[in-house]
């Protein structure tokens, strides 16, 4: 999944967001000295290769009243985790859902799902819905609430070089 210097310029020009104008791609292309067709081809290409996960709006959970969240973690049978993970990830109150390796014996959980809701009680209710969805394939679960943000820095994109 290599990206070249032009892709890198496109990333730098768009990672702050798309302009809210009728022809946003033409505006970015002009800024970069590319044709709109070239820009769109490269965006399509990066999306097809997974460099762009999606082009979308990120909602502010807090502004929407979703002030409670919890990292729910699940011990799901390996044979079932791909299928069940997809169901959990598609739930409308789950924002991030990942399969990760267990760290036995300390940590038996292999599925992580971030639950957002308006209250702690509602987070717990939604956790119950995930438990019901997973059924017998789930051997145990837990939820971790954050008590303090200790550090939060943005993603650092190297300005040049590398692939």
């Amino acid at each position: 999944m290599s990206i070249d210097a032009t892709d890198r310029r496109i990333i730098a020009a768009t990672q702050g967001g798309l302009p809210l104008v009728p022809e946003p791609y033409a505006a970015i292309a002009a800024e970069l000295g590319l044709s709109e067709a070239t820009l769109c081809n490269r965006l399509h290409n990066m999306q097809a290769r997974g460099v762009i996960r999606r082009i979308a709006a990120a909602p502010n959970h807090y502004a929407l009243g979703m002030v409670a969240n919890g990292m729910s973690v699940w011990d799901v049978e390996d044979a079932a985790v791909a299928e069940l993970g997809a169901h959990v990830g598609a739930l409308d109150f789950v924002s991030h859902c990942y399969e990760r390796p267990r760290a036995l014996p300390d940590w038996p959980y292999n599925l992580f799902a971030m639950i957002h809701a308006e209250s702690r009680a509602e987070v717990e209710e939604k956790r119950g819905r995930i438990a019901a969805l997973l059924g017998a394939a789930c051997r145990g679960h837990d939820i971790l609430y954050s008590t303090r943000i200790l550090k939060k820095t943005g993603l650092r994109l190297r300005p040049e070089g590398g692939t």
């Binding site: 946003p24 791609y25 409308d92 300390d106 303090r148 550090k151």
Partner: protein
């Protein structure tokens, strides 16, 4: 601010993906039964009111060249601030959250290569005398978050 049904429909539609085509807002507006100017004006307002934090391409950090790993440590309460200072001092530690669990410190390591993730985790273990559990992403499931329409 309050969101009306149209705002909610816009938010949910724009989380599903945005077309790469010369007039993408016109395409989305048509799908939603709006006109393009109204859609753009509402998006300006949703951004100004910080209901939308970002609108555009979301790049895969790993695909852009880099390695990431969620890590966790069980830090004794008495040592927490001391360990925190050591962990946060490293620029490779991107996010760090305290959580109410025996594993009470959760952070993301961001480095240029996979090998550096391992080196950094081992280096933190040496400096703190505590284990750093590694939880790299194996699979990411479709993001389905929606607000009530």
């Amino acid at each position: 601010m309050t969101l009306d049904a149209t705002d909610r429909a816009i938010l949910n539609r724009l989380q599903e993906g945005f077309p790469i085509t010369p007039e993408p807002f016109r395409v989305v507006a048509q799908e939603l039964g709006l006109n393009e100017a109204d859609l753009l004006a509402r998006l300006e307002r949703l951004k100004a009111d910080r209901i939308i934090t970002r609108f555009g391409p979301f790049y895969d950090a790993e695909a852009m060249g880099g390695a990431f790993c969620l890590c966790a440590m069980a830090v004794p309460d008495a040592d927490f601030e001391c360990v925190l200072t050591k962990v946060n001092a490293r620029p490779e530690v991107a996010h760090n959250y305290q959580r109410d669990h025996r594993l009470n410190m959760w952070f993301v390591l961001a480095t240029e290569t996979e090998a550096e993730i391992e080196e950094m985790a081992m280096s933190i273990e040496r400096e703190t005398g505590l284990r750093v559990l590694r939880f790299p992403k194996r699979r990411e499931f479709f993001i389905g978050f929606r607000i009530a329409a």
